[in-house]
Subunit: 138 residues, 2 copies
DNA sequence: CTTGACCCTAATGTTAACTTTAGGGTTTAT
DNA sequence: ATAAACCCTAAAGTTAACATTAGGGTCAAG
């Protein structure tokens, strides 16, 4: 139960087999040991590593950024806490900016939707369309 | 100063000329009038349209979604006010979903960043890396 | 009248993050 | 012993959203 074949790793991380091989090619995962037959044999640790990748991805990191995080981690003894925190904070302010922009579009759309009667008549005179014409959404 | 050539439109919207032609091919922009020499001639209105595209894009909308928004007017004669309003409301709830997702990412990142001392010492024990490893974050 | 900045179309190239395909070996279960 | 299920590599395909290139007109300035 110690070493995992790629299919088992795939199943327990919910990541496609081809994706795991892709991550390896992209150096997001170390090249695993091989059995006599050539099959990849992953240590349990790899489960954590794959989950790290998925989690970071869910937080909006690109594979490139994740690679940088993993590099910092592997080379932890040569990089400062500050460097790592900086990566996280850059991402955080990026996310906050996008939230603000989305909120501004939200209110624009809400305003539009509120002005429309939503009735069954043809939309020729629909207020939404009129507003779009006049550049209410910009 | 009424009609714009593609280069002027490109410059004042900060979008590449090739991109404008691409948008046209993708039906995000109406096919503009042409001068006798074949040059595209855009009305001022197009400035607003291009900026709308760029802004919506920065908010994470795909060109496909943007196309739907921009097509509301064109579809007006074939659809009821109700249908048009429905499209707007779908977009609105889409935007609200995105906001919620981003907010959950925001708090996860903020939690991470807060736990890290950000000091100059080596990142061997950095809490960000530890948390990503341990899955303490969602 | 020539140079350089623009414009045109059509086609091909690019990047990210995968997925699919082609062509074979290997394991497992019946 | 044979079929289903798994594994391998190398390469090509996919999607989005452009960018670049090739080949060729157009226009203002000097
Ligand atoms: Zn109405
Ligand atoms: Zn309406
Ligand atoms: Zn620290
Ligand atoms: Zn730290």
């Amino acid at each position: 139960m110690s070493m995992l074949k790629i299919g088992q790793l795939a199943k327990s991380t919910n990541v496609a087999v081809a994706t795991l091989r892709y991550y390896e090619a992209q150096k997001l995962l170390q090249r695993p040991a091989r059995a006599a037959n050539g099959y990849r044999l992953y240590p349990q640790e790899t489960l954590t590593q794959v989950r790290f990748i998925k989690r970071a991805q869910a937080l909006g990191f690109s594979l490139q950024e994740i690679r940088e995080l993993l590099f910092l981690k592997v080379e932890a003894t040569r990089h400062s806490c500050h460097e790592v925190k900086q990566v996280a904070e850059d991402k955080l302010s990026n996310v906050r900016e996008r939230i603000l922009e989305l909120q501004s579009i939200e209110s624009a759309l809400a305003t539009l939707a509120n002005k429309c009667c939503g009735g069954p008549e043809m939309a020729a005179g629909c207020s939404i369309l009129r507003e779009l014409d006049e550049g209410a959404i910009k």
